[in-house]
Symmetry: C2
Subunit: 206 residues, 2 copies
DNA sequence: GATCCTTCGGACAGTGTGTCCGATTTATTG
DNA sequence: CAATAAATCGGACACACTGTCCGAAGGATC
């Protein structure tokens, strides 16, 4: 029984590994040439598997794209979580939050741009994509709201409707990322993060 | 000769009229269901022309999409220009600029979302789309920079690197529009515009 | 009435998608 | 080791869409 269980687990690990293998290739190709310009044939070939095998792992093209997005956003959350727990001072939290997001963005700007884009665009055609991504968006929104509320408590930020403050902060970050993602030579990450952070702090200051 | 000329002009008008007819349908459908989920057949049918006729006006799908985006952004600029000339006070200019953009956005949120999205996304696959849209982006960036510089002169805004200030303002507006475009029930336009404007003014204030 | 231009409708090749299935390889188990 | 199960392969298939082409039909223009 135990052997059976562990065997099943191993299979799952292998399965996940292969899945990731395909996802990584797809993410790169999607990023390089856009979602519509890459065929399943090509993804399969570059991942070193048969096209039909890809369809074993992903029901269709949309699900593959969704998996790519989910993976990128999971990584984003993961990489942010580390610093998040370390810093507790609101201003610093904001700084590291933005810095972390920029870091991930710089990691694969081409696909990140696509992600920002598709997050909304795909929701239209295939309703499925939205839900999971929206959850991650919510998670980050929750973090923003937390740090804002802390900032209000400590007298650093002026009080306003928390949802509105969260929205304004989120908008600025979203915009900053979108712009950065489409810049050929973005300014140094630390500088960019500092600039946005300082601007936000000033807008929020008591 | 004069008759010839006017005849040619008439033809051009008709041609433009038909073009717009197709563009309007395409814009609606693209907005409703996303770019990839609408076939040229369908656009042609709903526009009441043969599919082959669509290809007389637009070389291919991308060019049609580009035309849709260009048209929307032209309208945007046009509708902003009116108020822009009337107000000269920087804070008011910012307010009307943002209000004008929101107004256009509310006009057809579905496609506007797509526009925000595609502006960057399409640049990847088909290089052609970017240039014209980038120009319009530039135009608005120029307006932002103008009003910022006026604000600095009048002592309303604190001085900083004009490009950076423009970028920060643009980011906030871009983010605000993106968020608003994907909200099912956005807050009243005037309130939303005021909120963003006040936040920006505070961030920029001397 | 002849001519030009536009539109139409349909045929066409090419490409991609998603499904299916038999053949082949690779792992697991007795 | 042999039998069995599972994963993968490779290719065939129907279907849908794109972009091209062309002859036919309709209106306007001279």
């Amino acid at each position: 029984m135990a052997a059976r269980r562990s065997s099943d687990n191993l299979k799952e690990v292998i399965r996940d590994f292969r899945r990731d293998q395909v996802i990584d290739v797809a993410r790169r190709l999607f990023g390089e040439r856009g979602t519509t310009e890459v065929s399943m044939d090509e993804i399969a070939a570059q991942a070193g598997v048969a096209r039909s095998t890809v369809y074993v792992y992903f029901a269709n093209r949309d699900e593959l794209l969704r998996a790519c997005l989910k993976r990128m956003l999971d990584q984003l959350l993961e990489s942010i979580a580390v610093d998040w727990e370390r810093d507790t001072e609101p201003a610093q939290r904001l700084r590291t939050l933005i810095g972390g997001m920029f870091e991930r963005l710089d990691d694969n700007p081409a696909f990140f741009r696509l992600a920002l884009v598709t997050q909304e665009a795909v929701v239209q055609g295939s309703a499925a994509v939205g839900s999971e991504l929206a959850l991650i968006g919510l998670e980050i929104a929750g973090m923003i709201q937390d740090l804002y509320l802390e900032g209000v408590s400590s007298g650093l930020f002026r009080p306003m409707e928390p949802d509105r403050a969260t929205s304004l902060i989120g908008q600025q970050i979203y915009g900053a990322m979108s712009v950065r993602a489409s810049e050929l030579i973005p300014m140094p990450r630390a500088d960019a993060a500092a600039e946005v952070t300082e601007f936000l702090l000033r807008g929020l200051s008591a």
